[in-house]
Amino acid sequence: MSKASHKAMEEVVARNTDNTNRIMEQAQGYVVSENSTDSLLHTSFDLTTAQGVIKHLNSSFLRLAQSCVRDLDPADHLCFIRIKTRKHEFLVSPEEEFTVTVQF
């Protein structure tokens, strides 16, 4: 990411600290990854877990889900996914440039 967009992102993060803190009270952690390079931008987990989450969830599974949705209806696109497992729940929110994943 270029320096300008990095600065813009820092500003967004600073603006949303209240929200982040509210979410973090309930959540186990979050991961923010960049869409184009599948690289880690921000996380509250340790690096290995976060990288694992990105590699399996954010990049490969999310792409498949997005292509399924567009296959079913070309005008539609994916807004949000909730993956509920026995132990946790993952909330994945894909945006244009990045993807936010929260683990409950």
Partner: protein
């Protein structure tokens, strides 16, 4: 087992926001549906692959964990998938709020 499925279908169909319900067997063949056939088959094929991949991914991330539920919110609908041993249930609903 089919009595259970009928009861489920009846219960879910009564919700005002539900657009369609599809019940698949473990081989992703539709056994019960409330939508037209082509759309059902389309959904069955795509969603079953997706669910299988999701279940695999969950066990990849943590081997003691298992997929319980998958909810996808798109612009126009919300698709809820519940996989289990003997069938896969797909419910498509209009987002209420």
């Amino acid at each position: 087992m089919s009595a259970e499925i009928e009861e489920l279908l009846k219960r879910y169909q009564n919700y005002p926001n539900v657009v369609g319900i599809i019940v698949l067997d473990p081989f992703a063949i539709p056994i019960k549906t409330t939508m037209d056939y082509t759309l059902t088959v389309h959904y069955a094929a795509l969603i079953s692959t997706l669910t299988f991949k999701a279940a695999k991914m969950v066990t990849n991330l943590d081997s003691s964990n298992e997929l319980v539920n998958l909810r996808m919110r798109t612009l126009n609908h919300e698709v809820i998938v519940v996989p289990s041993e003997s069938y896969i249930i797909i419910v498509i609903q209009k987002p209420g709020t």
